[in-house]
Structures are given as structure tokens and as C-alpha cells.
């Protein structure tokens, strides 16, 4: 018997997957743009719709009892309004396209400001749509195109997938609510959280020895392996001769007060806190307008300055 039930359930599921894709498939994230088709829009009466239905039932009974035909007409007209409501609610959502979802990267524990760009494929009345599935529902108007701003908490660093959102509308009379589940296959970059208490920047003379000493009296900024395309005049011939590798001087480093932010400098801390500290240093250094270089176990960035470079460093830290 139990086996029979399991069999039925299984065949039911297969049927649902085959015939009702809206019930099964749309739980999975899907790539943008997402077009809302009527097969993926659900509709249920609101509380007010239920009240209205109850009132109409009372009116119907009264009108039938007294065979009051004018009252019957009125009741049926209102019933028609109620019956039309779910269709209208679905139409409010139908052929709405979620075109893009954009967000500036933020640090973990901040709010991600997600900008959802909706577009309508068809001419429509100005209807209010709501986005739920997040802490505070957001309402916006859609005529041809509209941006909705949604705030999401950034809980951890790295690529964070967008959460489950529900787009809904109770147009036109608030008696029925239609909704559709949106789960865009798109990740938002979240930078690591900067350490709350600022550790002093590992400036010259305060940290460990920063410079690679190649030879006495020569204080090189730093050497790295030759890469095709490096200009020949930058090759450190002497050092190369000593190491039997072709080494290249890094351009524009030290002597002008630039920083070296190294993974090893925060060696005393656990992994995540190390990232936090480096993040802090990057943020502070960028805020001070300094040039800096970021050395991570995986890569070395810079030295450089400016917003673009800072973003590149934070991204590398986020994805560590």
C-alpha cells in the first residue's frame, strides 16, 4: 500500500513537472531577463475580497428571498466585478519583464541597494506593483518601464545570489492579489567587512622590513619575474645575473611613501579577521589618497591608487 502511494506521488510529480512547469521549474533561479507569463502568475483573494464575497452572499440571499430584481441585478453586477478581479490582477503582472538587476558592491553587514529594472511588453494602465520576500515590501508604479529599489542585507562576503522575490499586485480593486516568484540567476558582489577598530596602516618604519634587499646600498622597490612586453630598460640585470632568472624592477614604487599591504602582516589573526584587517587598510589607504600595493596569497595588486584600484582590491579580498 505504502509503495503504491509512493508510486502515485512519483507519477504525480512527474506529471506536475511535465504539465505544470510554473509549479516546479520556477523555484530554480533563472537568467535575466525574466518575462512574467500568465502560467507563472498565481492569484488568491485578499481579506477584503473575502469580506466582499460574504457581503455579496448576504445580498444575494436577500434579493432572492424578496424576489427583488433590481437588487439581484446589483448583486450580480458586483459579483461580476469580484469575478473579474483575479483576471485583472493577473493582467496587471502579465508581460512584465525583469530586465536587469543591478547593485553597487557593498561591504558585508551593510545594505545592498538592489536596483531592479522592470519593463512592460505591452501598454498598460498605471498599476502599483509590490515586491515582497524582503524585510520591507516595496511598492512602485509601472507604466512602460520603472526601477524599483530594494534593500537587502549583505550577510557575507563574496558573490551572493539574489534572494527569492515576489512581485505582486492587487489591482484594480484590491479584491484579489496576483503574484509571481522571481529568482534572478544573478550574484551580487559583497566586499568583506572592514575591521571595526582601525589598526594603524603598516606605514614605513612601523611594520616589518618591507623592501627586498638585493644588494648592499641598493634599496630596490621590488623585483618580479619578467613578463613578455616589459621594457628592456626596466630589467634588473645585476639581480638577474645573480638569481639566474630574468627579474624586472617594479616601476614607481617606494621612496614616495606608498604602502605595502601584505597578507603576512596580519599573520597573527584568524583567516576572516585577516581579510577584515586588510579590507580596513585598503579602505583607509584609499580614503587617505595613498598609493599602495596589496599582496595576497593568490596575487599581488598594484601599487596604484584611486577608486578603480580600490574596487579591484576589495573584489580580490571578497573572493579570497
Amino acid at each position: 500500500m505504502r509503495g503504491r502511494i509512493a508510486q502515485w506521488r512519483e507519477s504525480g510529480q512527474r506529471f506536475a513537472e511535465r504539465r505544470l512547469p510554473a509549479l516546479t521549474r520556477h523555484r530554480q533561479p533563472e537568467p535575466l531577463p525574466i518575462l512574467l507569463h500568465r502560467r507563472r502568475i498565481y492569484v488568491l483573494p485578499t481579506r477584503f475580497g473575502l469580506y466582499a464575497g460574504g457581503l455579496l452572499l448576504v445580498m444575494l440571499l436577500g434579493a432572492l428571498n424578496f424576489n427583488n430584481n433590481a437588487a439581484l441585478l446589483l448583486t450580480f453586477a458586483l459579483t461580476g466585478v469580484l469575478a473579474l478581479s483575479p483576471l485583472r490582477a493577473v493582467q496587471a503582472l502579465e508581460r512584465v519583464v525583469l530586465e536587469r538587476a543591478e547593485a553597487e558592491p557593498v561591504h558585508a553587514d551593510d545594505m545592498i541597494e538592489l536596483r531592479l529594472h522592470f519593463r512592460s511588453e505591452i501598454a498598460r494602465q498605471r498599476v502599483g506593483l509590490e515586491i515582497a520576500g524582503i524585510s520591507t515590501p516595496v511598492r512602485f508604479d509601472l507604466l512602460t518601464a520603472a526601477d524599483a529599489l530594494v534593500n537587502l542585507p549583505a550577510e557575507r562576503r563574496g558573490w551572493v545570489p539574489l534572494p527569492w522575490l515576489s512581485l505582486s499586485s492587487d489591482a484594480p480593486f484590491g479584491m484579489f492579489r496576483a503574484w509571481s516568484v522571481l529568482r534572478p540567476l544573478q550574484d551580487v558582489l559583497v566586499w568583506p567587512r572592514p575591521e571595526p577598530t582601525a589598526a594603524p596602516l603598516p606605514d614605513r618604519g612601523t611594520g616589518v622590513a618591507r623592501h627586498v634587499r638585493i644588494a648592499e646600498g641598493e634599496d630596490w622597490q621590488g623585483l618580479r619575474d619578467y613578463r613578455p612586453g616589459d621594457p628592456p630598460r626596466r630589467v634588473a640585470w645585476k639581480a638577474s645575473a645573480r638569481t639566474e632568472r630574468l627579474l624586472v624592477r617594479e616601476p614607481g614604487l617606494p621612496a614616495d611613501g606608498s604602502l605595502d599591504l601584505r597578507w603576512e602582516d596580519a599573520a597573527a589573526l584568524p583567516f576572516e579577521q585577516r581579510i577584515s584587517r586588510l579590507t580596513r587598510w585598503v579602505v583607509d589607504a584609499a580614503a587617505a589618497g595613498r598609493r599602495y600595493r596589496l599582496q595576497l596569497p593568490t596575487e599581488v595588486l598594484g601599487p596604484a591608487s584611486g577608486i578603480e584600484f580600490r574596487n579591484r582590491c576589495l573584489r580580490a579580498l571578497a573572493l579570497l
Binding site: 445580498m59 424578496f66 437588487a71
Partner: protein, 664 residues
Amino acid sequence: MATGVTLLAALALNTKWLPIWLMGALLPLATLAIVARWRGAGPLPTFWRILLLVGACAAIAATQPSVFGREAGAALLASMLVLKYLETSGVRDARLVVMVSNFLAMAAFLRDQSFEQTSLAFALVVLVLVALQWLRTDRMAPLANAAPQPSLREWRAPLREALLTMAVVIPFALASFLLFPRLATPLWGSLDDKPRGKVGIDDELELGALSGLALDDSPAFRVRFDNDAAAPPPAERYWRGLVLWSFDGRVWAGSRRFPGTRAGPDVIAEGQRYDYEIALVEAPRIWRFALDAPLTTPAGMLRGVDLQITGPAGPRAERSYRATSATRYRLNSELPFALRRAALQLPSGSNPSAVRLGEKWRMQHGADVDAIVQESLEMIRAGFLYSLDPPPLGRQAIDEFLFSTRIGFCEHFASSFVFLMRAAGIPARIVTGYQGGERNSVGKYWIVRQSDAHAWAEIWIAGRGWQRVDPTAAVAPERVLRGSSGFGEGTDAGWLGKSAWWSGLRDRADLLGTWWQQAVVGFDSLRQANLLQRLGAGEANRMRHALLWLALMMATLGFAALLMSIRRRLPASPWIVVYREFAAKLAGGGVQRKSTEGPAEFSERAATTLPDQASEIRRIAQEFIALRYASEHTVESERARRLEILRRRVRALKVARRRDAIVS
């Protein structure tokens, strides 16, 4: 605001029935509340609400005869709704107030189901739909990114939506109206059966009662003769209603001693017979009206020995019936003792002067009935005046009328005449009903109005039976010949009544009202069964019937939804337009875009096919891809600027047309 206006409109629908003091209290209260809300006031404090609630309940209980009556119910509902409005704080309350306003419109239908009233109620529904939409935006305002404040300027779109909805819903309502299974018998009794307020003829006649009706222009019933061309002449248009036998010196009343039978008395027609259908406007009371004298008993009714027709009463009773009459007839050649006694009854000691006058005539003329009638009619013709506004009379009403005031309305003349006849020993009785009627030339039927209410006399003459005598005709023959509208200023006053287009308009309005009354208001389970049978739905089977209704409803709504979903497609996004233009140019050069190809592949293929433009094609493709897919941090204005550059670049792209287009 929208809520308040809806509420006011719903109250206004009930103006005619709600007690005046209540309307006088509720309308200003609601108006004040609307103004207060408009200026940002909150709900009324609890103390005041409770005070008002108790006050309203007490006042209604004190003034209404029954707390469970229709009036009391409507009054209570209206007060509660206004009080609820005073305390509404959120959208939820406001929506309920708006929705229950419909219920108030329905309460009004219990009193009046006319076409006008129904139209007004449907207008209210439109208002309700607009208000509900406003309430939605109200709710959205605080949180929306771009707050759409509901303002008076924003009524267009909601109104459009409301009207569109009504356009879909009205056919639905009509179809439901025809097909929805109905109750053959009510589930519970009617709240109160006796219609109050506006009444036509009553079963008692007091001097001065009918003159009150003389100014009431509303229709009492409509008559359609089977042969419209041969309607009875004006002087024969007497619509018989009640027969009043007993007089207590002040009031004439019917007699319960002569109950009707299904067969009724034999009436011998002496002249043309008329077949016709009468449709009453108000729910009938037990008596019916028929052209004097009805030869047969209408189906389902009884006819008394005095030709009074009685039938079922109440709001569910059938309002129209068929009858056959002859205006020249002979009735009761023999007069049984009981009838003779009733027809000669006089209250002792009342109106002594009139009794003496009657006795004097009997002495003078003996059994010569015609002479006595002549004498009395001569007297009336010589010294009496007909007036819609006769002076009031005291206890010896007949004496005062006959010997001092001498100004009266039809019931004064009729009752005095009958009184005199009885005093002179001639059996006599009063008949009340209507006299006259106005032809609706558009609809080819006759309207008899309340202002046509009339009272006349019948006397019994040996060998000839009962004969109608209308003493009013003696004093004011135009009243009988031209009907009530030919007399006095009570009806259509001045030039309006005479202009042709006005009467044509009035005829049409009445035709519409009549059609409404018969086709819509009169529709019931019996007629529905007939209709379904004619439609081929077979015997009235409730289940089948309900299924038919359901199917039709689905079809109607589905069709409506289909119509509504046909909407204009919006033009594609601007970047798509640019891309299509680009693709079209390359196609001209012989490179057709495949549907499976993305921009990168397509442009690469184009670049290899068209080496002259390769670099430009690649640049455009790169820029396009950058704009379309890789612009996470671009603001909208920047995006637009780049799109414009791209568009120019595509325009500038020159691709040589190739004849041997490579079609893959």
C-alpha cells in the same frame, strides 16, 4: 474623501424613505466628516462615537413602529455606516464602508425598483469602483518610491477602469439575472407586508381622502387593450376598484359579508366587450381594478357579488392580470334581502337634515326612482362647486357639505348622493377606483394615474339592476370627459403640459418605465421556467439550471478577459532597435543573422565576410555588448549617451549591397 463621497451618494439614494430627521442629521454629519478628513483630521474620539451610536439607536427605536421593519433596518444601516465612517482610520475600514454602501443601495430597492432608481444604484457602483482604486493608491502612497498621491486630477484612469469593468459586468449581470436559479417561495417572511407611505385608493373612504391623491401624478396602473383601436370612450373609462357599503357617519367601508367566489356573479354584457391586461405599478393589496364591469374573474382571483375583485397581496404577488369587461351591462336584476339591507343602511342620528331631504323626496315621488335621481342631480348641478381643495368638514359631514359649504371633490358628491338615495329608500353603494386614463401613443397603452382616483355611486333599480350614477359628472362634466388632467392645476402645469415634444418625451419615459416594470421587476421563478423552456433547456431542473448558469458565466467572463487582454505591444527597447538596424545593414551586405546567433558570433562572421568594414563592425559589436551586458555600474543618462553614439555609428556604417547574398 472618496469613501465619504460614496457614502453620501448611497445616503442620497435613500432620501425618499429615510426619516427626514435622520437624513437631516446624517448628511451634515457625513459632510462635516469629509471636510475634516480633507483637512487631515483623524477619527472621532471614542466618547463621541459611543454617544452618537446610542443616540442614533435610541432615536430610531423611538420613532420607528418596529425595530425589525424595513424602514428601521435601513435607518439603522445608514446610521451605522456614517458612524463607521467617522471612526475609519485605515484603508481596511474605508474599503468596508465603500463596499457596504452597496448594501444601502440595495435597501433602497426594497422600496423602489424603478428604472431611475436602478440606474442611480449602478452609478453608485461606478463610484464605488473608483473609490476602491483610490484606496489602493492611498495605501501605496507612503512606501512607494515615486508616491502616487490620489488627487482629484487622477480620476481619469480609475474612471476608465470602472466604466470598462461595468461594460463587461452588465451583460454578465443580465445573463445571471435571467438564468440564476430563483426561489419559488421565500425562505423567510417579508419584513413587513403593508406598504406604507405612498398609497393609492384605500379600503375606507373618508371625506377629503381622495382629494389628497389629486396632486399625485404617479401612475397607478397601465392598461393594454388587445384591440388598441377600439378603446372605450372617455365617459366609459371607469376603473372599478372597491365597493363600499357601510357608513358610520364619517367613514365609508367595505363589507366583509359578501366574500368573493371564483365564478363571481353573472354580468350580462350589453354592447362591446373589451379584453385587456392591467399591470399595477405598486405591489398589490388584496383588491384589483378592472374596467367597469368585469365579465369574468381574472385567473387566480375572486370576484364578489358586488363585482369587487380580490387576489393575493404583498410584494411577491403578480402585478399584472388579464380581464374582460363590458362598459354597458346589466347586473343583479334581483336583489337579495341581505344585500338590500346593506344597501339601505344608515347610521342612526347622523346627518338629520340630509335624511329629512331624502324622506321628503320619497314622499314626493314614491317609487319613481328616476325622478328622485333627477331631483338630486339637479340640486347638485345648480348650487355646488367641484374643487380639488374642499373646505374641511365637521361631524355631520354630509349635512355640512349639502347645506353650507357646497364645495367638494368626487367623494363628497358620491357619498352625499348615496346617503340621500338611501334616505329616500333606494338601495345605493359607493364604488371607488379610477376614472379616465391617458394614452401612451408610443407604447400603445393607457396610463391611469393616482390623480385619476375617483368615487361614484351605484343605485339598484328594480328590473334594471345596479346602475352607475356619477354625481361628479353633474357638477363637473369635464372631469369625466377629459380626465383629471383636464381639470385644475394639479397635474402638468402651464405650457409644458401642452407642448407636443414634452408629452412625447413623457410617453417614451413611461414606456421605458413600463417595460422595466414588466420585464425586469416582474420577472420571477415562474417566468424564468417559461423562458428556459422556450430556450430549449427542458423542464426546470435546478441542477441543470445551475450548471447552465455557471457555463454561461464562465463563457461571458472568459470572453471579457480575452477582450481585455488584447493590448497594444510596446515598442522594443531602444538598444534592440539599434541592433536590428545593424543586423539589417549587414543582411543587406549578405550576412543574415541566425536566430541562434549572439551579437559576438554574428558580428565576427560579418567581419570575416565583409573585410572592408571589419574593424567598424567589430567596434560596433563590442560597444553593443558592453552596453547591453557589461554595464553594471552605468547610470541611466550615461547609458542613453552611449546608446546615441552607437546609433550614429550604426547609421554611418556603409555596407555595399551584394546581389549574391549568402543565405545560410
